[in-house]
């Protein structure tokens, strides 16, 4: 199962994270965002509405994304965060780095 990417502007994309981001598909997620970065995207909205699993490998891959785009003033925003994802974000205090929005639309508005 791949990740669905939707382009909102030349620099902003939405990635639908699906049911799980974990050690099984973290590499796939990395190559997904890698090609978006090569196409000029710096702002990433991650849609977590259906996500039941986010493990440390999965979170690590999001960190890799952040470290690549932050020097270009890019942002990683979390949209429609499910409860399991919320737990991980709280635990690791990453809400200090990844802004959270109730919906993809709200994230898009804030990032534009």
């Amino acid at each position: 199962m791949g990740f669905t990417v939707e382009s909102l502007s030349p620099t902003t994309v939405v990635i639908r994270m699906g049911e799980a981001l974990d050690f099984r598909n973290a590499d796939e997620f990395k190559s997904t965002f890698q090609s978006e970065i090569e196409n000029g995207s710096v702002n990433f909205i991650l849609d977590f509405s259906d996500t039941a699993v986010l493990d440390s490998t999965g979170l690590g891959s999001i960190f890799s994304l952040y470290r690549q785009i932050s020097p270009d003033d890019g942002q990683v925003a979390f949209a429609d965060v499910s409860r399991p994802v919320q737990v991980v974000v709280q635990l690791t205090r990453t809400y200090k780095v990844f802004r959270q929005f109730p919906t993809v639309d709200a994230a898009q508005e804030a990032l534009s």
Binding site: F23, A52, D55, S56, T57, L59, G60, F63, S64, Y66, R67, P84, V87, L91, T92, R93, T94, K96, V97
Partner: protein, 369 residues
């Protein structure tokens, strides 16, 4: 399992194409018409297995096999000779030079497929065993051989590594001023790669701690330095870790800690269990991240427990995890037990799945009443 790469070396194009056609269904197949071409192919990409004819122009099968034997990088590639029935003397020569198998032409395709499968399987088993062995070795090195022994305190430690587990780490050291530094961390990732990074990371942390302790005993300051290191060191680039540093002063009965996105420690008293609230951002993400020291007073009979996420994320009821609340509930009764960690883990297994899936590490210390 990744698709195995097989190189077919055969000058007869009919046989070559037939083999390629049959093997392509299951393997990633490359072909060469003689030994020289084969060496060029191997240079580009090392195959998992080679099937080679003997009699070929330019460089024959024996010369090719000899060349591969002379190079330590290619010596271990399983090698199957295809020999013509008329070549009985050469076949015996083939057996002498240490090939893994030989098949006589005209060959039975099923038999060839069978032998390929067996050779690859043997390689795979060997690789898996090696990974497991290295993984166990790293896990053992990441764990302490002993625990601090201090009058008036009870200390317990438990760690259980899973092959598919991550990079849990634990270390402690006594400082000249009589206090102790206890570090617990979890390097992100799974399997042997995480364990390797955890190992490199721990070595660095030990060295940093040693140097920094000359000037400061603030866990928060040490945390900042480790964070900087993770963000600038090329080897550890892309390494992220949750980390908890405790500075325990047995004379003052205090524990000063800094927490970088790690599972929050739990204070257990006869009145109940509570979470040590403060924590900061996980390490390796933001150069400007700041960390803060917090101090806990340990009254007589009170205990402090720290752990890794294998316990926190232990599945309960299929869809839920044990979580902080669950841990608080099962931690409370441990205060009066002889073996508190055993009691804690038993309670966790009773509530949820009957085995842990990830590495589980717990440190438990109590000031005697």
């Amino acid at each position: 399992m990744a698709e195995h790469a097989i190189l077919i070396v055969e000058d007869d194009s009919t046989v070559r194409e037939l083999l390629k056609y049959r093997l392509n269904k299951k393997y990633d197949v490359a072909t060469a018409a003689n030994g020289e071409e084969a060496l060029e192919q191997i240079e580009q990409k090392t195959p998992h297995l080679i099937i080679s004819d003997i009699m070929m122009p330019k460089m024959d099968g024996f010369a090719l096999q000899k060349k591969l034997q002379d190079d330590k990088n290619t010596r271990v590639i399983p090698f199957i000779f295809l020999t013509a029935r008329a070549d009985e003397p050469t076949r015996r020569q083939g057996a002498r030079t240490g090939v893994d198998d030989y098949i006589t032409k005209p060959f039975d395709m099923e038999q060839l497929l069978n032998r390929i499968e067996r050779l690859l399987e043997r390689m795979q088993v060997f690789q898996t065993q090696l990974d497991a062995e290295i993984g166990r070795d790293f896990s053992n090195r990441l764990l302490p051989k002993s625990m601090p022994e201090v009058d008036g305190y009870r200390i317990f430690f438990h760690s259980e590594a899973r092959e598919q587990g991550g990079g849990d780490l634990f270390d402690w050291t006594q400082v000249d001023d009589g206090t102790y530094f206890i570090t617990i961390g979890d390097v992100m990732g799974k399997g042997i790669r995480a364990k390797f990074y955890a190992f490199s990371f721990l070595s660095y942390v030990r060295a940093t701690l040693h140097t920094l302790l000359q000037e400061s005993t603030s866990p928060a300051q040490i945390m900042s330095r480790i964070n900087e290191m993770l963000l600038t060191d090329e080897v550890l680039e892309d390494t992220f870790a949750s980390f908890l540093i405790l500075n325990w002063d047995p004379a003052d009965h205090t524990v000063t800690y800094a927490n970088a996105g790690h599972c929050r420690p739990v204070l257990i008293t006869p009145d109940g269990a509570s979470v040590a609230e403060h924590s900061d951002l996980i390490l390796g993400l933001e150069a400007e991240a700041t960390f803060r020291d917090e101090t806990i007073d340990l009254a007589p009979g009170h205990a402090l427990m720290a752990y890794t996420d294998g316990l926190l994320e232990h599945p309960v009821d299929g869809t839920e995890v044990l979580g902080e609340q669950g841990i608080l509930e099962i931690a409370e009764p441990t205060l009066d037990t002889d073996t508190p960690i055993d009691a804690l883990l038993d309670a966790a297994l009773e509530r949820g799945d009957d085995a842990f899936h990830d590495d589980v590490l717990v440190y438990w210390m109590q000031r005697e009443a």
